[in-house]
Subunit: 279 residues, 2 copies
């Protein structure tokens, strides 16, 4: 696959800027170490690679959190491959027992795919932070710009970390950056999946491919800023060569998941013009 | 105890506005139910009470998550007292087994008070969201403005919820609101504690009482907006009758926990003036 022309970047510059950003954050905030969850997918492989380039391998701990019976063998192999390739310290914890413990504590989770799917990223987050706390380390998140706009992540699960180095890049751009970084092809070309249940794939669940979603996002979010023009959905559909309903699908996913991209709301601070006793 | 004059509000109006805010959020977003974690402390008692007033008792599920051997008997009794008083549905899950399971999965947590303390609120958050997901409910947070500014909460633990109805009120104001709501005196006058280990109390750990911290926050955050004047730390210390170092303590806690009050940072989106290939 070749990346869509609109999404192509100068990858050398992208790499340099993200690595510098990580380095700058790390040293400005006097951080000692970072932990990165490694899933065997492309996002975490790219994050781990950039982080290691930015900080040196002594500062990075790769955390492998597979689930027996759910995480595919290829992912388990690819997790290991990444930490071996980068030669960083790593720690592996198998989470199926913890999943079972939560189901025992609250059995209704089992019959509910939403609750069941969200449970696992939250268990992983809790483990990542426990490991990070013990090592006085920062948790590096792996979310990308496509997942973020689609709301395709678990709030306070994989959506919870201290920094998100890839949040400015769409999934197809991260794959391209992965190629530039010379990461293993099997990892780059792997079908994206959150891996929350057997056989889950992102694009089937979303009802759209990242190739198409990313081009839609480009024309909705970036094009108006780059070229000062706003295209109608009809026009965008025609340029990309897709049905207009796919743009509406993406827009609806964005609207329905707005709460995942904002700090939780609270009522206004009570100032005396309506509630203070003396004013 | 009488609340400091600066912090006194018209509690009838405060009650009405927060309840209306909850109601408005709930109906605007077409939410079916809410879950509230009830700890036996004043914050969660006040939140539960306001939420029930706003939505009716059929919409509220109280969640009791005590830990055997750690949660004091009085708190366990007070949790029950609140849900009985409000006559809302409730669910109790004892978390000590889950804590044990995490320690088995990553034993180093045990020797590290930071990791150990943070683990429990994250387990509770994970349970609250599992219960909320199954009930298609919203998670109502209980954090207050004092804890928030001091950063005295666990990121992605008790700091994680869908809405925070009390975030505009200082701890001493919430106690006063609790009195206005006629909640049990034992709950209002209880020594504040996150209850993460035996004998933990908030004010000992913070090195300052909420009474003093709240007055400092008033003079630093509210006074300049109410009266258009900024007082020096010396002047504030003199007004409150405290040593200036307490103000610095509060300021340092605020600075060191800024990351807990913001969305996690990420590098800028790469626009072509520095990275896009065609421009």
């Amino acid at each position: 696959m070749i990346i869509a022309q609109e999404l192509d970047l100068n990858w050398k510059n992208v790499k340099r800027c993200i690595e510098n950003w990580i380095k700058n954050y790390f040293f400005t905030n006097k951080i000692r170490k970072v932990v990165v969850g490694i899933s065997g997918g492309v996002d975490s492989a790219v994050v781990a690679s950039l982080t290691k380039n930015a900080l040196g391998r002594g500062k990075v701990i790769g955390i492998l959190l597979p689930e027996k019976g759910v995480t595919p063998k290829t992912d388990r192999k690819d997790m290991k491959k990444i930490v071996e390739l980068l030669r960083v310290d790593f720690l592996e914890i198998e989470i199926s027992k913890l999943v079972k413990n939560f189901i025992e504590a609250f059995p209704l989770v089992k019959g509910d795919l939403l609750a069941y799917g969200n449970l696992k990223p939250r268990i992983r987050m809790t483990l990542l932070y426990a490991i990070a706390n013990v090592n006085r380390a920062l948790v590096v998140g792996t979310s990308d710009r496509s997942e973020y706009y689609l709301g395709y992540f678990t709030k306070f699960g994989d959506g919870a970390a201290d920094i998100f180095p890839l949040l400015g890049l769409y999934k197809t751009q991260i794959k391209e950056l992965g190629r530039f970084l010379k990461l293993p092809r099997a990892i780059i070309d792997k079908t994206p999946s959150p891996g929350l249940w057997k056989g889950q794939t992102a694009e089937k669940e979303l009802g759209i491919s990242y190739e198409v979603a990313d081009r839609i996002f480009f024309y909705k979010k970036d094009f108006p800023i780059l070229y000062g023009k706003v295209y109608s959905n009809e026009k965008i559909a025609k340029i990309i060569g897709i049905n207009k309903y796919l743009i509406e699908l993406v827009e609806n996913r964005g609207k329905n998941t707005m709460h995942k991209r904002a700090l939780p709301p609270s009522p206004p601070i009570p100032y005396p013009y309506f509630t203070w006793k003396k004013s």
